[in-house]
Subunit: 310 residues, 2 copies
DNA sequence: GAAAGAGGTCACTAGGTCAA
DNA sequence: TTGACCTAGTGACCTCTTTC
């Protein structure tokens, strides 16, 4: 998990610590608010292997592919993956990776086209404003546009990577998530209207980042899942049978099937800015509760519960 | 890359400790000064299950969890735990472990974010300079920062040295537990001005290590409890009436019955809404964020909160 | 150039070991 | 049982390459 949770702070620091590159004095740019990792909901650091993920899931996926790992779930192949337990079941973590669309074929290189970014940001802002997503998706924001834009970023890029990745590519079932991609992607139409010509301003990103932080997710469906002609898909027998995840929304989440969505938004408000004490406690309480009893999703916290979680 | 900071440093050194590198120059890496074990005040070797602990307490906690041990105190459940008597009362040792925040959900893997390290170091240095702790904590130093950042990981010290250092104040009554947690987190404001940009320098660590040693504690509350796997639970329900501690993960954690925390609540009010899945996810995300990088929240953990999240 | 992601690096920790 | 030691991973950072 990247520390960066974000916020400004994080960003600034980033600069500060040279790490970020350009560091030279120039303000390091704010990074695009990718939202939550689609695999474990930690803070995503970018689009990795096709979807927004954290560094951990990125690395995990990479290692899995490289070593052609075959994991086995000791439970029911239905472990919920989140930042706290992601290392407890590799099988399910990997499944989640592929279900969400990670694939070596999904790799995108180079900078994200301005147009795409703008659209994504705009979309996010709107969502934020409304506080609700059309589809009732939970964490309101998501950059559909961005995700779908895949097409934008060249697809053919593969060849380039091939070399580097070859070892890798083979493996990935690269497709399992078709569904995802299909339903998920908002159609991306680039009407290159110049409007956007202006550049995306930092402020916007800033704002989004702040209200965003890891609390929100931007779901970037795997847009790359294209018929991969290249992959040989050799023996990749993953048990990807699981397409069962029927997401009715365009943004598949890591929620179990029984998961039901409904609109809500009360939270969206919370979503903004820093959390005050109460909110903090609230969240912690819930988190604790969840930690101990993840079963009831439809939770109502009452006194008892509050006591419960202490 | 900062190699500067990171060099090799293999484990060997860790153990060997003694050498501590300095001799060589930057070469051997110093491990971060984790300070004292939060359970027994021995030298901590790292952040284990969420907090800085020694190898002994780490192993003890692990075994306790694995075997689902239920210990009983033959006294008043108030035994003071320190390096010399930690094996006298398992019940109290385990209680201390959990009180201090050890939890399977608090596990942090991977490298400790630079930022966190920097903060911790800075804080430690300041404390050292002042020579006083805000909370009147007994052993002067502690890496609150580190601790608070929970998510972050703390730093490590070269453990090894127990020998050398403990002698000193070693024993420290390790603090009346409860309070500990209370200590506040120093607010973290990053002005990481360039200074930090560089990597943390060895000298700093060196200095801190020396003045540190077992005398210090780094408090890392574990507040990132997140939901476990969704699984079916079933079987492993220990008889613990204590639902609070039923983890359906493979590492069930059990706290002693007598374990008390206190109410807190504040939440109740907020706590009342009904959460739907989406909200839930949202909350989880926030929790994740908090867990990972609480820094940016202007949160300051007070006793209540600390206790609360436990 | 700047922005982004793949890959690589290696600081770190859960767990397993086994002498004491 | 304990806890010093090791090992297999994990993931925070960084470098390199691609794309805008
Ligand atoms: Zn992730
Ligand atoms: Zn599983
Ligand atoms: Zn200890
Ligand atoms: Zn006792």
């Amino acid at each position: 998990m990247v520390d960066g949770n974000d916020e400004i702070i994080a960003n600034e620091q980033r600069d500060s610590d040279l790490s970020q590159k350009s560091s030279k004095g120039k303000r390091s740019r704010l990074t695009f608010p990718f939202g939550a990792c689609r695999v474990c909901s930690d803070s995503a650091t970018g689009i990795h292997y096709g979807i927004a993920t954290c560094e951990g899931c990125k690395g995990f996926f990479k290692r899995s592919i490289l070593r052609k790992e075959k994991y086995r779930c000791y439970f029911d192949n239905a472990c919920l993956i989140n930042v706290a337990n992601r290392n407890r079941c590799k099988a399910c973590r990997f499944r989640q990776c592929t279900n969400q669309g990670m694939s070596v074929d999904g790799v995108k290189m180079g900078r994200i086209p301005k147009l795409v970014k703008e659209r994504a940001l705009k979309e996010l802002q709107e969502q934020k404003t409304k506080g609700t997503t059309s589809n009732g998706e939970i964490n309101g924001m998501q950059a559909n546009t961005l995700s779908c834009s895949s097409s934008d970023r060249s697809i053919d890029n593969d060849d380039s990577n091939t070399m580097e990745t070859d070892s890798i590519e083979a493996q990935v079932p690269s497709v399992p998530m078709q569904d995802d991609s299909s339903n998920t992607c908002a159609k991306f139409e680039v009407e290159i209207n110049s409007s956007s010509s202006g550049s995306i301003d930092d402020h916007q990103i800033d704002v989004l980042n702040s209200s965003f932080n890891s609390t929100v997710e931007s779901h970037l469906p795997a847009y790359n899942s294209l018929p991969d002609m290249k992959s040989k898909t050799s023996a990749n027998d993953r048990e990807d049978e699981i397409k069962q995840f029927t997401y009715r929304t365009k943004y598949p989440t890591f929620l179990p099937n029984d998961f039901t969505v409904d609109e809500t938004d009360g939270l969206s408000q919370l979503a903004t800015g820093l959390l005050n004490n109460e909110e903090l406690q609230y969240v912690k309480a819930i988190a604790n509760k969840l930690g101990r009893n993840s079963l009831n999703l439809d939770t109502r916290l009452n006194d008892e519960e509050a006591r419960f979680i202490r």
